[in-house]
Each structure stands twice: as structure tokens, then as C-alpha cells.
Symmetry: C2
Subunit: 95 residues, 2 copies
């Protein structure tokens, strides 16, 4: 997996609304109605991440879920991060 | 639920080895072999937390799980936090 250039990152960001790019990673925050809804989504994301062999850096407090994605091997972003971000958006959109 | 005094907190800490007390919360970190093992434990903790109606502040990256417990309503610690900490230790000990 190759590290994406700034231009490539800009292009990818157009497809994942609500994600911000800083500190060599992409970040987003979701708010759910309660912990159960939040953790249900986390479970679906966990399965997807495990299948992709690419895992999130995430922080949960009750119904709030903060997610950061990056690829440690390249110390930046790769296609994998945007693939996982798109999968997360799909999962959250389903709820 | 009443806010615990410093003396009560010291006493409770004796029963949950590996937890540190600072910033009005108790904290610990677990390292697992991989993401699947880590998330399996998170799932068991989530169920227990939901049953207790008391939820963790937690951060996961791959096989590392950082947990902080506190009771927002009292802006400090209550029996609930130590009850959840003990449940978490029990779950992790089972793995």
C-alpha cells in the first residue's frame, strides 16, 4: 500500500463527508441515541475492520464515538483508510 | 450514589490491582494478542456496562485497550466505578 499524496487525499475526502484530515490521519465523530446503539455500530465496524485487516483508533464515551484512521506502516494515509472510512459511513448510514 | 472520599477510594483500590487513580477517575490499560481478542473483551464489557447502566470511557487501538471510569453525576468516583472495574477484571481474567 502506497502513501497517498496531498492531492490524492483531497480527492478522497470528497467521497467521505464529515471526515477531517489533520495530523496525518482522518477523523470523525458520531453521536448516537445511547450506548447500545453506539456499541452496535462499533461491533459492525469491528467486523469490517477485521475483515479488511485494517483497524481504527477509536474512543467511546456513552453515545459518542470518535474515530481516527491512518496507516502506521507508511506513517500517513493509504487507500485502506478511505476504504474503511467508506465502510464506516455505510454502516452508520444503515442504522 | 454518593461520591467516595479519598479514604474510601484508597480502600477500594486495594481490590482492583492495576488501576490507577488520578484526575477524579480510575484508569487501566490492557494489552491483548490481537484486535479480535481485544474486541471480544470489549463486547463482554459493553454488555456488563449496559446491564449496570454505567459505561466506560475507553480508547482502543488494535490490541491495546485503555479504560477510564468515573461517575459524571458526582464529578468523581462512586461504588459503581469500582463495581464495573471489578467486573472488567473478572472478564479479562477469564480470557
Amino acid at each position: 500500500m502506497e502513501k497517498l499524496t496531498e492531492a490524492q487525499i483531497e480527492k478522497h475526502l470528497e467521497n467521505v463527508e464529515g471526515w477531517d484530515y489533520y495530523d496525518d490521519a482522518i477523523h470523525t465523530t458520531f453521536e448516537f441515541d445511547n450506548f447500545m446503539d453506539c456499541f452496535s455500530v462499533m461491533t459492525r465496524i469491528a467486523m469490517e475492520a477485521e475483515k479488511m485487516e485494517h483497524h481504527p483508533d477509536w474512543h467511546n464515551v456513552y453515545a459518542t464515538l470518535e474515530i481516527s484512521l491512518s496507516t502506521h506502516d507508511v506513517n500517513g494515509l493509504t487507500e485502506k483508510d478511505f476504504k474503511l472510512a467508506a465502510a464506516i459511513e455505510h454502516i452508520v448510514g444503515d442504522e
